[in-house]
Every structure is written in C-alpha cells, then in structure tokens.
Symmetry: C2
Subunit: 295 residues, 2 copies
C-alpha cells in the first residue's frame, strides 16, 4: 500500500472522528463553560494517531472501521484528558500545546481539572452506550481502556515520570516509564481495533508486540523532535527536555543512537505483522510514519 493510501485513510478518519467528537460534546446538557473547555482541547488535536491505529486495525480484518467509532472517541477523550491534566501548573506547567494556549491558561485551573475529569468519565459512558458494540465487546473494551489509562497504566507512567525527574534513569527504567505513560494507550488502540475486528488470540498476541514496538518508536521520535524539531510544526517550544533535565532517549543514547534504536523498533514492529495472513499494509505504513513524522 502506498503512502498516499495511508494519507487518504488518515484524512478520511481524522475528519470522521473529529465530527463524532464535536457531536458528543454538543449533545451534552452541561454548563456552557464545561462544554467549551472539553471541546477546546478535543478540537486542538493533532493527527489523531490513536483513533487511526484503531480504525486501521479493524480494517486489517476486512471489517468496517466505523464500528470502532465510539471506542475511538472514548480513546481520544482519555488521551485529551491526560494532556489537560499533564499541562497543569502543578504537573508539567505548560502554557502552549499544539500552538495554542493550554486549557488552564484559557479556562482557569479548576475548569481545566474538571474538563479532564468530565472527558475521562464521559469516555466510559460512550462505550457503555454504543449502539455499535455487543455487551461482551463493551465490557472487554472498558476493562482494557481502564487498565491502560489507570493506576497500573498511564497514571502510573505520569507519576513515575514526575518521580524520575528527580534522578537519572537507566534505559530500562526510561522504557518502563514510557511503556505506561504513552505505550499503554497506543497498545489499547491496536488491541481494541483487533478485538472489534474479530482477531484470534494468536493474532491479538502479534498485534500486542507490534503495538509495543510502535509505542516505544513513538516516544523516541517525540524525544528526538524536542531536539531537532521545528517549533512551528510542533506548535510548542523545543529544547524544554534538556532545559528541564528530563530523562530522554537522546540524552541516554545521543541523537544518532536514539535514531538507531527507533529504526530497530520500527523494523521489529513490521516484522511482527509479516507473521500474519491478513492485510496489514496500513499498519506497516503507520509504523514508518511514526518514525519519520515531523510533528
């Protein structure tokens, strides 16, 4: 499959998920400031890489990606809540995200915390109410999403990341932080898509390995872009990791070493997919795109 096919797929489903997210917020009977704050950060999204992964995973089983729309909306809401809370003054204290003022800069700290809480809670409601999923699928997806996002997943990663700022981590420790902080939600994207697509246990296991490798690749490229990236394209200041003495892959391995590590993980991700009989060209292209993205 060519890059332009991936580009078309991404464009189509980015539009669809953004429309769905707008619909879900506009249909809320909530205080206007809460709806605005939720919508503001949801609409400030980037490439929607997590929903795209979920849709591509369903697609690889020859199923209609639209069946995953509610799971993708929930996933993007949880990703967005985590960005809102991470940006708070008591956390990373960021003023800018994707070229726009962060949520608490616009709506104040209390509303930002509550908008995050609301997105997190609403995500589970949307899956539970989905007309597209069976009860069995809903329970499995809710369980996996909560595990990926909760105290043994994304939240654990954020706590460990903040604790880690106080000391130098080994490569193993750094990977453990990122596996939880960003990897778990990426793994959920792929796993939920496979589940909705009707994957066998063996296929699920392969998808999990693929997700593990692209999760790390994603984080390495994030770290590299903070050194060599364009502030304009990223919509945020670069160089902040070095200034904040953050534990990063380039800091541990040099930029060149980090790039080698990145390539290894992308190669391994693609190799995993080669073991399957299904159509995985889109997922392979996503792995390559993650490694070469500039924003």
């Amino acid at each position: 499959m060519s890059q332009s096919t991936l580009a078309d797929f991404m464009k189509e489903y980015k539009q669809k998920i953004e429309q769905k997210l707008r619909f879900y917020i506009s249909s809320l009977d909530s205080p206007p400031v809460l709806k605005e704050a939720m919508d503001y950060s949801l609409q400030a999204g980037g490439k929607r890489i997590r929903p795209v992964l979920l849709f591509a995973a369903i697609n690889s089983f020859g199923k209609d990606p639209e069946r995953g729309m509610d799971a993708a909306a929930a996933l993007e809401m949880i990703h967005t809540y985590s960005l809102i809370h991470d940006d708070l003054p008591s956390m990373d204290d960021d003023d800018l995200r994707r070229g726009k003022p962060t949520n608490h800069k616009v709506y104040g700290e209390a509303n930002a915390i509550l908008a995050g809480d609301a997105l997190l809670t609403y995500a589970f409601q949307i899956i539970a109410q989905s007309p597209d999923l069976s009860e069995k699928e809903k329970v499995a997806i809710i369980e996996q999403l909560a595990k990926a996002a909760g105290p043994e997943g994304m939240v654990a990663g954020q706590v460990a990341d903040m604790e880690g700022e106080k000391k130098a981590l080994t490569l193993e420790e750094l990977e453990a932080v990122h596996r939880n902080k960003t990897g778990r939600l990426i793994a959920f994207s792929v796993r939920a898509g496979a589940l909705i697509g009707g994957a066998t246990e063996a296929e699920l296991a392969v998808f999990e390995k693929y997700a593990y490798h692209i999760g790390i690749a994603f984080q390495i490229q994030d770290d590299i872009l903070d050194i060599v990236g364009s502030e304009e394209k990223l919509g945020k200041r670069v160089g902040s990791d070095i200034a904040n003495h953050k534990n990063t892959y380039p800091a541990l391995l040099t930029v060149r070493g980090a790039r080698e590590k990145l390539k290894e993980h992308v190669d391994q991700a693609i190799e995993e997919l080669n073991r399957l009989d299904i159509e995985t060209a889109l997922l392979k292209d996503i792995a390559l795109m993650i490694a070469t993205r500039d924003s």
Copy 2:
C-alpha cells in the same frame, strides 16, 4: 425494623466495603506514592452512606448484598476522587477533611490530582472485571455510574457550584446544583442496588423518587451542620459556608425553614417506599438517619 438493626447492618457492611477497598488498592502494581495517596483518602471515609444505600437496596429485594460489593467499591472510589479534586487549592482549597489533612496537603497537588484520576479510572475497571455481575449488569451499571459522575452529573454540579459562588441563587437553582453535585451519586447508589436486586421498572421509578428526596435531605442537613454542628464530630471547620458567602438552604430559608424542608423530603422519601410490597425498613431508617446525623 429498629434503629439497632440499621446500626448492625451499617457496621457489618462498612467493615466489608472498607476491607474490599483496602484489598483493591493493595493488589495494585503501581508506584508506591500513588497507592498510598489513593489509600489515604479511601480509608479516611465516614459512614460509607453510599455503599450502605446500595447494599440496603439489594437487601430490600431479599437478595445477598454481597453481589453489589464491586459496584459499591467503584461508587466509593468515585465519591472519594471527587472529594480529593474538590479540596484542591484551585477548587475549594480545603486543608482538612474528616479531621485529617486533605490529600494534596499530604502528597502534594500533582499526586492528589493523579490519585483522583486513578480512583476514577480504576472504578470502571473494577466493575468491568467483577466476577459477581453479568455482562448486561456491568454495562448498565457503568453507563449509570458514568452518567451520574460525568459532565451531565457530578462534574456539572461542581462547575455550577463554583459559578454559583459568584451570585445569589434561587431555591430552584440551588436544588439544581445539588441534584447534580451530590444527588446524582446518591441516586446511583439506590438505583444500582435496585438493578442488582432485580427491580421491575415500576420499582425502579419509586426508588428514584426515594433517592431524589434523600439526596436533597442529605444536602440540607449538610448545610445545617455547617452552622449548628460540632467541629469535633464533623472533623472540619464549621461556619465556612457563611464566611465564603456560599448558597445554602439555611441562608435561603433560615435554619428553622431548612429543618422544615428537610422533614418534608424525608417524609416524602418514606411515603414513596410505602407504595412498594418489598421490605424497605432499612431504607426508611436510612432516610431518618440522614436527617438526624450529627456528622
């Protein structure tokens, strides 16, 4: 049923839910500071009125209340997360809760936010994983819990409460705030118990009216205690509502008027239950207890 029967029931199930909550935190593979912060606020619980309501509702259908243990644990986690976030400096800025320093006073603001996020997320995981509930029950309970706690429920109430501090509310507006902020989670307690107990639609409708009235009664007594209550028994400073120009029932109706309103709602709650053929003595006693509690 006598008061001592309610006291026995409350004592037994308070102990059971607290044991379950301890188990759920101790079994987590999470950073120690996160587990500690989650456990700290969960263990600082009061009478566990919401779980007790859920258990009593199941009991009224002659079913074993233990089947509701996971729903009750999830419910108490979500109630606890809301207290942690409400106490934050950018929200109500409280230093003391039930006689102990608030979560952010002990663990810092970032960990308090994350402990709240973790409790909220874990709550949904626990229901999804429950061995005691059918898939149909899980989906229904998750949907109702998310609706009660989310952007059209508890979070909406907290946003409206903060907005309301800037102006004087009418009695209708005040009730609307509290119906969301505290009423929805109390209503969930009763409704989830009825659902697990196997209530008919007609019984559910009666339970909802009962829950509506005790929810308001609960809030009125809260407001009255802030004026006439004992700091020692409440474990927090009294008089803060007046100092903060908060909209309260006594401020709108005088203490005497608020007490009359309270009695009306308790009477109506009990009257609703009289329409049912099932054993509702415990639920009636809980309504009376809510009106006469001193902490």
